[in-house]
Structure formats: structure tokens, C-alpha cells
Symmetry: C2
Subunit: 463 residues, 2 copies
């Protein structure tokens, strides 16, 4: 069966190949015309592909060849790294044109990453009041609600009729980030209500805004972390959420389209941390240099390697016992591996449960109790199979089998309890729980697995 | 500094504690009044908390005590499991009322999970045409665009003026899922354009729809997987995307609020698979029974344990060599652990890169080349430190140190190449790449690490 999305992908690929060919033949006008068959999102993606295939220069040549209004839309779709690189190449008037035409929140994103002297030059001829507003926005912490929001919202008066409100929206709507949610402020700019365009459109013309507005809106604080803001969107399914300061004055709004990017960023960060990668800074894999890759990976590997010095020490201190029953070594990887896997299952479930807001710190005893019951069942099942394998397939003494099997139950249980509680402990002390899964878990459970195994061997085999 | 979100959480907790107390004292009216101080999202969350703290019966008592219109909104916010449990308890007229008042897409979600005879009973008095539409929707595959969409969209005629269009929206807007994106169809119900309410509101009254509409809209196909649909939303930042059939006829629309839930579901599935957990079916950790937890975890642990039988076999065949140089055992966990961690870093980055659409199958050689360069640098750094540790701290012979260090470089390189390419291979053969990270990776790299180590020991130590 044909698939519409699939067809779109093929069309995109074919068009991109054509553009590559034109560029190789230095037919820039033809490649521009081919680019212009697409929308701004696809043009931006193609420019990035051109940069990867050729270089920054050729990407900029094509970017400058775009009609002015389209180039602004495309610029808004690019990553900040690409934006900064383009700005460093194009002329000052071009930069000013683009910056002025951008939506306010995109403009702030760009200005944040530029050196102060270039920002001053760009804002040179900007009216003083706007420059003050921009400077205020530049002060918000990265990844805070303040850094995500835009001041381009529509505010209505509470005593207006619907007709007056709609007339106002018609006038100022083009310059606003969204017109679908509108805000009602009192004299002191305090937020007193929100009203959706839907309500306005389906209500009688002579109704009054204050009678129809929702007067206890969900808000976020300007200093809230972007992850908290995106949780609000997931929880309530709104299109926009107002941002207030300490005095409940409305300072901006965050819209759902920006939140989709935040969710992608935060998910990448979580998954990478769980996989033992630090600080890819949301750069694309292929765009990261080898040095950047090394920096993102070596620290964790180094830290974990040091933890294996301890594991080595544990083995060393049992070396004599091991040399007496060398067959114990055969089951070491299995016990360590099963311990690690058990722990990572539990930490994965708990970290995800905390991320979606289902598990709270107060649930810690419920979680431990559940893990203990699960561990005993799982541990016994695995032990049962192992016992027969060790005795009948490997032809090792039953006491060795018993050592492995009893160790298994203990290891699974301890690993699962640690796997479940360590992320909760991390959250308690203000660390990211995701750091406690994966590699961190694996090296910790390795130590515990070996110690348990050797103690059990000492007890049961008298070595 | 005070934090608005934090205050909201405290207010929620306090209110919930009050409700728990009232329920314990059997003061149901008071607990209902306390519930009604919140919005529908919070009431739904509180009902789930009540069920967890007490039981289903008490949750249903409070649900039935809600005013009818609010109970429908709350019902729409509940998980499908809770919905079905409620339906099985309340009376038929109550069920019919709720089902009829639900948005179309929520109604389909509920009906999908009910036994056929109950669905027939509910749809008993529904007009034939609507019943036919419902039955069509029930046929779409789970997790397809068809199962996410709603037919409650607004369609406009292309020759209408803006004034006529707005008048039409005012009339039918209340019954539509969204009025912010509107659709223009030809006589055969083929989609010929989309127009946003924003465009309509800011344009002159006498302009014509077909002149202002966007006539090459992004669409998805009714059979597309929900993950593909959510990628479109992330890519384009739209509020709604039209769903078409093979003849490009508009059959429904998907809205962004439903996509936020899809993203959460898909992320949970990916993260769980990477952590070696199968099929939690997006149930909450605390709501899953011990049996369900065992089912979600035992299969992977069992499968991986069998893979350790092979690892055990590898050690067994080198047993004689090991017993000669027992100190080699000390470095086994470190080499296996570092191999596993290196592999999981690479697979994490590649899986995430494929999920966000950055890495494609055609990039496989670029990826391998990057991994090789990164591996050599990382491997050499780790080996350097290890050499000194083994010789000067552990006082082992330099040849043992050399064995460990050369093995380390090979192990890191092989693990990283496998970690990066295995998920790509999985995608190529139509499997979920996320299944190839975490535990799967760890057990595979364990085997490779040990084999490399033992071969190297054989070559360098003549054992």
C-alpha cells in the first residue's frame, strides 16, 4: 500500500539530489528555483544538507539568493549554530533586516548567542524602548520560561464587548505570536483572565469579555525551568501558557510550537544521560566534531573505569579462593550482567515514572516493596534454570550451582532496589535522576554482584 | 525565591489530603465540593489518586457525584483503563450520556477498548449514519493516524468570502475539535487547501477563501504510524494536520494536544526498550501489578542470561590459561564494563539521531568513520592511565599491562562500531532500533570483550 509520508520523503530526496547536481555545476539560479518549490521548513533542512555535503559558503550563497521575505522564514527554522554562522558572513544591512523581521522569541535566541559588540551594532538604530525590552529578555536564564517566551501577545480589556475585542485582534493580530489565546490585564498589568479566540468567535457580538473569560488560568513563573513548562503543556493540552513575574504581572507567553522543540531537547538530554553521554548540547551527531564526541564520552568512561579499579580490588582480595575453584570465574559475567540488567530495568521505569510525574519521592516505600516482590519471583525463575544448567550441562558440583543460584536471588534483589531508589535519591538531593541509570548503575551493581558472589562462595564452599 | 509552579503543587497536595480525610469520614459531599475547586485535569488526577489510596468504588462514587457536564470533561482526561472500569460500574443511561457528549476522538478511544456487545448496546439509539462513521473509525489500526484523528473539523467552500466563512465558523465552531485550522474541499471531498483562523480574522471581509488559502498543505495518510505523525508536528510546528486516504480525500484531522500524549507514549516506549523493559503498555509503574512487572522484565533477563551461557563457555575454554595467570581475572570486569559502556554511548547517540530524523541509513559509513576516530582517542586515553596503574599500583608484569591496554583499544573500537551500526541494521530490517541498545548491547559486547582479551593474552603472554 502506498504511503503519503513515504512519497513526500522520496520527493524531498529527489529534489535535494537535483540541487546538489546544480551546485556542482555552479548553476546557483537553478538550485535556488528548485529550493523555492519547497516550504520554509524544508528549505531550511535542505540548506543544512547542503552545508554537510559542501560547505558553509555554498549554504550562505543559496541563503542569500532567496527572496527576502522567505529568507527570514527560513532563518527562523534554522538551528542557532547555523544562524550565527550565517550572520558572521552576510552584510550588516542584511543582518539588521533579518533580525528586525524575526518573531521576538527567535530574535532573542539569536541575540543571546552573539558577542555583545555585534548585538550593540545590530540594535544600533532600534528605538530605545524596544532596546530596553530586548535587554530585559536577554537577562533571563537559559532554559527558563523567560528565555522561551515572547512579549508579542494580545491583551484585551475586561469591559470590552466581543465585537470590540475581535476588532482589536483584527488590527494587531498580524504582529502577535498567537491570536488563539488572548489575555485580560488589570491597570497594573496583572493577569486577571484568559479568553480563547474560539470563545470570542462563537459568542454573541454584544457579550462582555469579563463574563466569558476564564479567570483562574494556569500560569508559569518566568524563572521556571523549561522542563516544568513543557510538563504543564502535556498535562493540560493548551496552545499557549502565560508567563508571570513575582507580582503576577504578565511578562510574556509560551506557545506550544516552541514546546515541541523543548520536549525533543529534554528527551535527548535524558536519553543521552541514561546512555552515559554528557553534554552533546543538542548538537546533531554528524555535526559534532571528533573532539566534541570525545569530550562527551571520555569523562564518563574514565569515571566508570576508576570504579572498576575497586571491582578489581574486590576480585584481588578473593584471588586465592578463586584459584581454588576456578570454575567460579565462569559465572562471574552472568551474575554481573544480570545484576546490571536488573538494576537498569528498575531505574529506567522509575526515572520515566518521575519524568511523567507519576512517581513522587513519597512513594519510595511502595516502590521498594514492589521491587522486592518482583525480584524474588524473577530471581527464583532465573536460578531454577541455572541450577540445572550448572549441574547437568556444565557438570559442576551442586554446591557451586547452589552458590550461583542463591547469589542470583540476592543480586537481582539488591540491584533492583538500588536501581529504583538511586534515581529517587538523586532527585531528592537536586541531581538529574537520568544520570543514575545506565553506566552508573552498571558499575555499582558489578561491585555488589561480585561481593555477594564471593561472600556466598566463602560461606557455602568453605574457601 | 518563590516559584509559582511549586505553590500550585502544594495547593494541590493540601486539597488532596483534605479530600482523603473527608472520604475516610464518609463525608462525600464535602469531598466533592473540595474536588470542584479544581479544573477538569486536576479533578481527573485526584480521582486516580483516590483510586490508588482507597479503591475503584470510592473513585466512582465521587465521579458520579460530579455535575454532569463536568463529569464528561473529567472522563475525557482519564486514562482508558480507568474509563473502562468506570463504564463497567455506572448505569447504562449514564454511559450513554457520557459517550454522546465526548469529543469524537475520545469516544472512539473508549469504544475501541469495550467488548463488542457493550458497544452495540451503547450505539443502540445512535442514528444509522453516525453509527456507520463510528464503525469505520473503529477499524483503523491502533497507533495509526486514523486512530488519532477526529472527523469534527470545519470545511469551507473555496468561493466563500471571509465574512461567509467566519459566519459559518461561528455557527458550527462549538462542535469542532479545532476552529483554528479550516479545510477547503472540492466536490469529491478531496483536500484542496487549508486556511487558518488567523488569516481569516486579519483579512478583509470581502476577500475570497481560495485566494488566501494555502493550497499545498502538509498531510498525513490515514495508515501512517503515530510516530511519523508526531514527527510532522515537531518538524512543522502546526496546530493540526489533515489526514487523507489513498484518493487524497480528507477523512479527519489530528490536533497538537493529542500529539503531546503520543510523544510521551513513544518516548516512554523507546526509553523502556533501551532499558530492557518490554511492553509496560504505557501503564503507570505503581498501577502495574507484580505479575505485569515480572512479565515486562523476565523475558529480557532470561534471554540475556542465555547469552551469558555463551560468555561462560568462552571463559571455560580459556580456563587453563586463566588458572596460569589468575591476575588476568582482575581486569575482566573493567574490560567488559568499558566495552559495554562504550557501546551503549554510541547506540544511544545513533538511536536518538535516527529518532529525530538526523541520521539516515545512508549515513552508515560516515558514522563508522566517526566512531573509529573517537574510539582510538578514547581507547588510548583509557589505556594510558591503565598501564601505569597495572604496573605501578598493582605491581603486575608490564606484559600483563600491555595485554590489558591493547585489548582496551580494540574493545572500545569494536564496541563503538557495533553500538552504532546495530541500531541502524535493526531499522534496515524493520525492527525498532531502541531494542538494540542497553542490555542487548551489553551482553554482545561482553562476549566480544572477553574473546578479544583472551586472544590478546594468548598472543602476548604465550599461555
Amino acid at each position: 500500500m502506498e504511503n503519503a509520508l513515504f512519497d513526500m520523503d522520496i520527493a524531498y530526496r529527489e529534489s535535494l539530489e537535483k540541487i546538489f547536481e546544480y551546485i556542482e555545476q555552479k548553476k546557483y539560479f537553478r538550485s535556488r528555483d528548485e529550493l523555492l518549490k519547497h516550504n520554509e521548513v524544508e528549505i531550511a533542512e535542505m540548506l543544512v544538507d547542503i552545508r554537510r555535503r559542501f560547505d558553509l559558503q555554498r549554504m550562505v550563497v543559496l541563503f542569500r539568493a532567496l527572496p527576502k521575505d522567505i529568507s527570514v522564514d527560513v532563518f527562523a527554522e534554522l538551528d542557532n549554530d547555523d544562524r550565527i554562522d550565517i550572520i558572521n558572513i552576510i552584510t550588516d544591512p542584511e543582518v539588521k533586516y533579518i533580525i528586525n523581521e524575526l518573531d521576538f522569541d527567535d530574535m532573542i535566541d539569536v541575540l543571546e548567542d552573539l558577542p555583545a559588540n555585534i548585538v550593540d551594532k545590530i540594535l544600533d538604530k532600534t528605538p530605545k524602548s524596544e532596546r530596553k525590552l530586548i535587554n530585559n529578555f536577554l537577562k533571563y536564564k537559559e532554559d527558563s520560561a523567560g528565555s522561551l517566551m515572547t512579549p508579542e501577545y494580545i491583551n484585551l480589556r475586561k469591559n470590552w464587548t466581543i465585537e470590540e475585542a475581535l476588532k482589536h485582534i483584527k488590527e494587531v493580530g498580524l504582529d502577535s505570536e498567537t491570536i488563539y489565546t488572548n489575555y485580560v490585564l488589570d491597570g497594573g498589568r496583572k493577569l486577571i483572565g484568559v479568553i480563547s479566540l474560539r470563545t470570542l468567535v462563537v459568542s454573541p457580538d454584544n457579550a462582555i469579555v469579563s463574563d466569558l473569560m476564564h479567570d483562574d488560568p494556569v500560569v508559569c513563573h518566568v524563572d521556571d525551568d523549561q522542563e516544568e513548562v513543557s510538563d504543564l503543556f502535556t498535562r493540560y493540552g493548551y496552545l499557549a501558557i502565560p508567563v508571570v513575574d513575582n507580582e503576577f504581572r504578565l511578562v510574556g507567553i509560551v506557545t506550544v510550537d516552541d514546546i515541541l522543540d523543548v520536549i525533543e531537547e529534554e528527551t535527548t538530554e535524558d536519553i543521552e544521560r541514561m546512555g552515559g553521554v554528557i553534554d552533546s548540547a543538542n548538537k546533531d551527531y554528524l555535526d559534532m566534531s571528533v573532539t566534541h564526541h570525545v569530550k562527551a564520552r571520555l569523562p564518563w568512561l574514565m569515571l566508570l573505569m576508576f570504579s572498576y579499579f575497586i571491582t578489581g580490588g574486590i576480585i584481588d582480595s578473593f584471588q586465592e579462593a578463586l584459584s581454588k575453584v576456578i570454575s567460579l570465574v565462569i559465572y562471574m559475567p552472568m551474575l554481573m550482567g544480570t545484576g546490571g540488567n536488573s538494576g537498569s530495568q528498575s531505574s529506567t521505569l522509575v526515572i520515566r515514572g518521575m519524568a511523567t510525574g507519576e512517581i513522587e519521592l513519597g512513594d519510595v516505600f511502595k516502590v521498594i516493596w514492589k521491587e522486592i516482590r518482583v525480584s524474588i519471583i524473577v530471581g527464583l525463575c532465573l536460578s531454577f534454570i541455572n541450577f540445572f544448567r550448572i549441574v547437568y550441562l556444565d557438570h559442576n558440583p551442586p554446591m557451586v550451582a547452589l552458590t550461583v543460584c542463591i547469589s542470583m536471588v540476592f543480586i537481582v534483589t539488591i540491584a533492583k532496589i538500588i536501581g529504583a531508589t538511586l534515581p529517587m535519591f538523586a532527585k531528592k538531593i537536586g541531581m538529574d535522576p537520568a544520570l543514575m541509570a545506565g553506566p552508573m548503575m552498571a558499575s555499582l551493581t558489578d561491585m555488589i554482584s561480585l561481593t555477594t558472589y564471593f561472600i556466598m562462595a566463602g560461606l557455602l564452599l568453605n574457601i
